[in-house]
Symmetry: C2
Subunit: 225 residues, 2 copies
DNA sequence: CTAGGCTATCGACATTTGCCGATAGACCAC
DNA sequence: GTGGTCTATCGGCAAATGTCGATAGCCTAG
């Protein structure tokens, strides 16, 4: 995730006819001050200001790299709340709940919490840093590829928990088609899980589990973790 | 497509500890000579060589932009065959056929050729530059997000024609979840097209059509275009 | 062997970048 | 009013870039 946003920012800056302005745009998106960034880069604010106001028409790769790294590092220090979310603080239609754990949590613990059991043969031995609960049909309609960052929030090391799932094909197909992959998928109170869903979970090496709980109970159970 | 690859290359170059070497790697991936690139940039080959051998530790944004633009422009002149395909010449399991038209073709002509009719309300008034025929279930299992470039080949301005389709949900969900979008989707001899498929076509503004022909007949009909 | 294509190295030098510090302006809270 | 925060502008200057041309080496085909 971080590597991707860094690459995107750097790419945009270089390709911009006004690299300095693009740098400023991104800093403001992240809501970081020139002073804080200057401190992070171990320089002075007027350096940042000069670049951002296009005093230098063609900043070098070295500077751009340090600037972008500084932005992303500072954002991480602030919990990655604003920047990586693209500045949209509220949840999209289809996202029922979302949380980051304070510490990495074994998937097994999460599964136990939800009385969830595996339906594919993918090994459950991995850690989860958070979860997102989604209403599957609504999410598919309202969240397209460019906004998956919202589903994943700060980390893809999360469980995606889909409710209102009949056969589970559409969520697994969507995950298959998108470059970012979650750490696990859990279907809340599904119908009969289709064999394609299971095969996709195995192809992608993403554990697939089901729980009899519905979304509100899932959120409640995970609140206590 | 082009904008995305440009951004990716530029981003990689800037973030690389060895920008010059990364430039070289990409030029070689595209199979473009220093001489040809130098000509495109209206400079001399020793300039390219100096940068690529890291004589300049921190090339400026201006040069990187021109270099990347030059690569992509030259690749386009060569039909975009090698670079954008990632150098995989053979078709993946699931791709039954694929072609670029010599000239842009109205979608209506393609539809007429296949006796296809629209099932969603999206306007058909657009041009197609080519098509890919896919076996839907096999494609979904064998082609993940990172290899969609293969499905699209040179241009996303194409019709994706899916065979072995029951309700048409999975193909539309996959398209929904991926950043690149085709110009049209045609289901060859589907079962009953599900309302979700139709809604996704409308949300994405991608025309959705069906034809009674099976894949071999489709390929045959389109061969004559 | 020669010719052509491709690439590498390096001297040269005009131009630009990278970075700092001094100064100034705007805004807000006390 | 003062103090603090944030940002902008600009002079100064060492260091690096951007670009060219000359030269050289390697490989292949005829």
């Amino acid at each position: 995730m971080e590597a991707e946003i860094r690459e995107k920012i750097a790419g945009e800056v270089v390709l911009s006819p006004h690299p300095g302005r693009t740098l400023r745009k991104w800093r403001e998106d992240f809501r970081i001050s020139q002073r804080d960034l200057a401190k992070q880069l171990e320089t002075v604010p007027s350096v940042i200001s000069d670049y951002e106001s296009e005093r230098r028409a063609s900043p070098g790769a070295g500077f751009i790299r340090r600037y972008v790294d500084g932005l992303v590092a500072l954002d991480a220090n602030h919990g990655g709340r604003m920047g990586l979310r693209g500045g949209v603080p509220s949840h999209s239609d289809g996202i029922l709940g979302m949380r980051e754990f304070a510490v990495a949590m074994p998937l097994k613990s999460v599964a136990d919490r939800l009385d969830a059991r595996a339906v594919s043969r993918v090994d459950l031995h991995r850690d989860i840093h958070g979860f997102t609960v989604l209403d599957a049909p609504r999410a598919i309609l309202s969240i397209d590829a460019s906004r998956f960052a919202e589903v994943y929030g700060w980390t893809t090391q999360r469980a995606l928990i889909f409710s209102n799932v009949r056969y589970g094909r559409s969520p697994m197909v969507a995950i298959r088609a998108h470059p970012l992959k979650p750490a696990a998928v859990i279907f809340a109170s599904p119908g009969r899980v289709d064999s394609l869903a299971i095969r996709l979970s195995e192809v992608e090496n993403i554990p697939l589990l089901t729980t009899a709980l519905h979304a509100p109970a899932v959120l409640e159970r995970l609140e206590e973790l």
